[in-house]
Symmetry: C2
Subunit: 311 residues, 2 copies
């Protein structure tokens, strides 16, 4: 056994991305999940501590996405060692930023590095998805896949799982406004209609096709015209005080598209530069502060690499 | 007034393209519509003859898509001349190959050439769409746009009309099987469900995003995995005897995707070479002949230029 411990980060992710409900996501540089993974002589998987989670996350290794992912990974390794985790949450669960996916990705990524990379990214994806499953109750790849791969990712289908990395325009920035309250994904999911009119399906398919084309062709104007969602946003906007006013503030300050990140309450707004991203964040926060006491803003480029080793 | 007459072709088009119901289409080199447009001293628009239409198409200039398109075009020209058309249909109406759109495109394209190109392609699009409207009762661009522009085209939205040309893989061929009977677009439209489950919407958006990505990235395997339609094909397949058996024959002979062209009965099958396209056509025809007496097969590359001047 070589190196005994490693410190990694895994990026926050924005799923749905407007019209890509359940099929698209992208990774950003901040916030991140930080995790230390240690090899130990005592077999088994343990979480030694979790900080920054306001005591919300399970230390129980059968319930935490990080340890469940590791459990599936270790089942494929001839191991006499044990693994111990320290998790530093910089994004809390129920934020809409893929917090549980970041845990599910960070742990197997870190252990794979410690073991000398016996597993491919595809195998790590499998472990991370099985980890994420304990949080969401079913296999969802729209946070896990961009978290592990970086960039924008399309989940073409689930049967079988078909993950397609997409390019992202070079200068793209993402502003996150995170009003400090929690939305349970399961509750947010219940709000979504079960039936859609043909007319809405045509509009949604047109917009998702336009968004993908805009991303692949570096066409910001097309991205802007395409970033509309008829599925999740109209339902979930009701959970976020001042949502449409916040969105309007982002768009009127130059954002090329703004919608709810995952199931919220975080809101993402894309832009063409860091300056614009900062101005957009300021404008969003100003409006949101009228409705929600605490609001955190992150401005960062698209993360293009997935998790990183930081120590 | 310079040249007094011109002979042009406008390409057949495949709309829907699988998952792109109402939002995608592409043009092919055969079959084509052939049209002679003449300037005359006598003001007004006339159709001198239509051949190949089995006497189905209206000579009435208020009902034919070609002359309605010209009517809107001439309203924008200071003209003392008249225009006379001869139309040679090589694809009949009710084929699913965009026959009425080809007429609506060919006429303004030809007149624009005769007049020294006073109008842009965008303006020609407007005239063609107004022409096509008399055939379908509403503005539909998924045949007109690829017919005029060539290649694959995305209609991102209709409000306002947002037409996005897409790349097409270089070596792509399209086989058309055209069983010789007619399907009325209006009848075929009535068969389509008015409501769709969320689950189906997710599948359809994933596939349309995958198809666009495959086209833009030259990824035949991705195109193949994405070319599935839950909206039109299941409803309209009932109108085409042996449809699923014909599709299976195409796929088992190497097609990278097969579905109904427009509202049928023509069926398109994409492939990676002319040889494959020919073999696919032979296989499709063999099966279809069990159910429908007459079947015509066309194998051609993707048309990348739109209408052409041929004399």
């Amino acid at each position: 056994m070589g190196q005994k411990s490693i410190k990694v980060t895994a990026p926050a992710t924005v799923s749905n991305c407007g019209p890509g409900f359940d099929i698209m996501g992208f990774a950003i540089n901040t916030p991140v999940e930080e995790m230390i993974v240690r090899l130990t002589n005592k077999p088994g998987i343990r979480i030694s501590k979790i900080v920054g989670d306001k005591n919300k996350l399970p230390l129980d290794v059968k319930k935490n996405t990080a340890t469940v992912a590791l459990h599936h990974m270790l089942a494929r390794v001839e191991s006499k060692f044990g693994v111990e985790l320290e998790i530093k949450k910089k994004m809390i669960s129920g934020s809409g930023l893929g917090s549980s996916a970041a845990s599910a990705v960070a742990a197997p990524f870190a252990l794979n590095e410690l073991l000398g990379k016996p597993f491919t990214k595809k195998e790590l994806m499998e472990f991370a998805l099985l980890g994420e499953e304990v949080a969401s109750g079913s296999i969802h790849a729209d946070n896990v896949a961009p978290c592990l791969l970086g960039g924008f990712v399309l989940i073409r289908g689930y049967n079988p799982l078909d993950i397609i990395p997409l390019a992202a325009p070079k200068d793209m920035f993402c502003t996150i406004l995170h009003p400090q309250f929690e939305i349970k994904t399961s509750e947010a999911r219940k709000l979504i209609r079960k039936n859609f009119y043909l007319h809405d399906v045509i509009t949604q398919t047109g917009n998702v096709a336009g968004l993908v084309t805009g991303l692949l062709k570096n066409n910001y104007e097309l991205i802007k015209r395409s970033l509309h969602d008829l599925i999740a946003e109209p339902a979930r906007a009701t959970l976020i005080p001042g949502f449409y006013e916040i969105k309007e503030a982002a768009l009127s300050h130059g954002s090329i598209g703004c919608s709810i990140s995952g199931s919220g309450p975080a809101i993402f707004a894309l832009s063409k530069s860091q300056e614009e991203g900062i101005a957009i964040g300021r404008a969003m926060k100003k409006v949101s502060s009228k409705y929600t006491k605490e609001n955190i803003v992150h401005v960062s480029p698209i993360n293009r690499v997935g998790p990183r080793i930081i120590g």
